[in-house]
């Protein structure tokens, strides 16, 4: 049985529950909550579901926000376990702070990954968790590149940028950034322009917009 994966890092206040329920009704579906997406693991928040999806919540994201236990239907999990499942998944959909992205396995080998950071959240927890999501890919050894574009480059400007420096200092994942020319990044990254961006889009088919 293949895995159909749903990852939620950001839960909009309304309008997505029907889509979520439909996604979780698919055989072999798994839901992983991370970042402020863990709000869905609050007891009583998620309605009864059709089928038997595997429900998981990132233990660290939950601990940062709640003192009590999560909905008992959820199993406490980690980013490493999430990537293990995601890498084997036949399809996935991720709802991140920067929008939604999805992929469905076709014929031939699965392509590499492109992790896209397109926002820099105001909340310090959300910023840290964006970096942790990227580091999770490195910890798992995912064949991935990291693209920072749009306002995402603000991650590489503040003191918190030092955490991102691990990627290049230890050769963990290639860090690519599209930022205005006059912006001095605090972290070594390969600068890319609009033309380079379109080439990158064509080359990497498994996108995760964080």
């Amino acid at each position: 049985m293949g895995i159909s994966m749903l990852v939620i890092r950001h839960w909009p206040k309304r309008g997505r529950m029907g889509e979520l329920r439909a996604g979780l009704g698919v055989s072999g579906s798994r839901l992983f909550l991370h970042g402020d997406g863990v709000v869905l693991a609050e007891p009583g928040r998620l309605p009864d579901l059709v089928g038997a999806p595997q429900l998981e919540v990132c233990a660290a994201s939950w601990r940062r926000r709640y003192a009590g236990p999560s909905d008992p239907r959820f199993r406490s999990s980690s980013l490493t376990l999430m990537y293990q499942a995601l890498d084997r998944a036949d399809d996935y959909r991720i709802w991140g702070c920067g929008g939604a992205s999805s992929w469905h396995r076709g014929d031939g080998p699965a392509p590499g990954w492109l992790l896209e950071v397109v926002t820099c959240p105001v909340d310090a927890r959300d910023r840290t968790e964006t970096l942790e999501f990227v580091l999770g890919a490195a910890a798992f050894g995912l064949d991935a590149r990291v693209l920072i574009r749009g306002p995402g480059y603000n991650h590489l400007l503040t003191d918190a940028a030092r955490g991102w420096a691990q990627l290049s200092d230890f050769d963990l994942l290639e860090l690519i950034c599209q930022a205005p020319d006059d912006v001095a990044l605090k972290v070594p990254a390969r600068r890319i322009d609009t033309a380079g961006l379109s080439v990158l889009d064509r080359d990497s088919a498994r996108h995760l917009v964080l």
């Binding site: 580091l135 490195a138 050894g141 030092r162 691990q166 230890f170």
Partner: protein, 117 residues
């Protein structure tokens, strides 16, 4: 860095610091190598040179990057810097079976790691 503290000295050292519920120091500024020795002695752990290398590496990483290192980073550094050519996660778990990075943080006076990577 390798040294010993007696039971009495160890108790005095531990009495002077405050530990949280999970055993991590509440004020990392009070950390000294003797604190690590005292904590280890209390836990029945004998800190050898490789333990100390790991504790120092994790402390330096935390200072520089604001968080503890990934396991794969430690393994790479252990091969290159500590001369353990065949270092692996098993090597690290032999040092601290309850979790090498977490235990290095605890003995090294660092905050409890938050992330679940």
């Amino acid at each position: 860095m390798i040294g010993e503290v007696s039971d009495v000295t160890g108790r005095e050292i531990l009495a002077a610091i405050e530990l949280g519920a999970d055993g991590y120091m509440l004020d990392p500024e009070l950390w000294t190598p003797d604190v690590a020795r005292a904590l280890a002695r209390r836990d029945g752990v004998e800190l050898g040179s490789l333990h100390w290398w790991l504790i120092e590496f994790v402390r330096q990483h935390q200072r520089r990057y604001g968080m503890p290192p990934l396991m794969r980073v430690v393994i790479g550094a252990m091969r290159e810097q500590a001369g353990v050519g065949d270092a692996s996660s098993r090597t690290l778990y032999r040092l601290f079976p309850d979790g090498p990075i977490r235990e290095a943080c605890r003995y090294g006076g660092l905050p409890q790691p938050e992330s679940c990577i």
